[in-house]
Amino acid sequence: MSKNDGLRQGMQIAFKLGTELTVATLIGALMGYGIDNLLGTRPWGLAAGVILGGAAGSLNVYRAAMLLVIEEDDNNS
């Protein structure tokens, strides 16, 4: 049962981190697309938006992962 629990927790963590990255990238892309439509700078806004969004997603994943590390340390001690 404990092994199964570990797998399930791992899946949950993977899904959690996955959504963080996807959502941030999508928002960055949407903002870039919106800026393109407003200012007529297609396709540069979209390109910059995707890159910034990916950076933001990585940052969010990093923060979420650091939180998990702290929780695990608490459990061990």
Binding site: F15, K16, T19, A24, I27, A55, G57
Partner: protein, 243 residues
């Protein structure tokens, strides 16, 4: 053969139309009322009986739940600041948990499988964190957009990144809960469909899987409610501490 997504459909029960607004009572709203009634009813029952120093069965369950939530809030927000958020976080946790668990009763409706519901909760929390941040720090709140200890040359790059990562929070909060509940219930429905359409010598196999997955879904109902409230605490804690 019904579609596996059939049980996510919203059916109007009592149509109410006021000035072009559709305020009809549908099965989702009824399920939400049942969730509220269970949570509120359990606490009312304990309080109306009188809170005992030696807790009974229901009282000890609720006490354990509240103490768990309180320790979570204290951990992420801090003991002094966290006190006033305990009722809100506890309500959120118990409501989401009740909604998730009600969805597992056959024939009922999973409200948290509607992105409109989870989105409304998440956007409400997002606006709340902004209000708390501006109320506490005033214009210094914009400092949250600049992480501590970065070189000055990076600031123009970090501000858009931080804005995107702030905006991504409520959406990932909403999408995570919605996707988990929808996926789990769709799997259950598909397996039930297989069990009902297959011959008996084969149908027992998917049917026994549904029992296993049902157990998994109960665990997911708890885990998702926990994740949702933990992240809410983290977001509130972030705005209060400003790094």
């Amino acid at each position: 053969m019904e579609s596996p997504l059939h049980h996510f459909e919203v059916h109007t029960i009592i149509p109410i139309h006021i000035g072009g607004l559709d305020l009809s009572i549908n099965n989702a709203i009824v399920a939400m009322w049942v969730g509220l009634a269970i949570v509120a009813g359990a606490f009312m029952l304990v309080v109306s009986r009188g809170v005992n120093p030696v807790p009974g069965k229901l009282q000890s369950v609720l006490e354990v739940a509240l103490e768990f939530i309180r320790s979570m809030v204290y951990e992420f927000i801090g003991e002094e600041e966290g006190k006033k958020y305990v009722p809100f976080i506890a309500t959120l946790f118990l409501f989401i948990l009740a909604c998730n668990l009600i969805g597992l009763v056959p024939g009922s409706y999973t409200i948290t499988s509607q992105v409109a519901v989870t989105g409304a909760i998440a956007v409400g929390i997002f606006i709340m964190t902004l209000v708390i941040g501006f109320g506490k720090h005033g214009m210094h709140f914009f400092g949250i957009l600049v992480p501590p200890g970065i070189p000055k040359i990076m600031i123009p790059l970090m501000i858009p990144i931080e804005i995107i990562s702030m905006l991504a929070r409520p959406i990932s909060l909403a999408v995570r809960l919605f996707a988990n509940m929808t996926a789990g219930h769709t799997v259950l429905a598909v397996l039930f469909g297989l069990a009902m359409t297959g011959p008996l010598w084969l149908g027992w196999l998917p049917f026994s899987f549904t029992i296993v997955i049902n157990g998994l879904e109960i665990a997911i109902a708890f885990i998702q409610a926990y994740i949702f409230t933990t992240l809410t605490c983290v977001y509130i804690g972030d705005v209060i501490k400003l790094h």
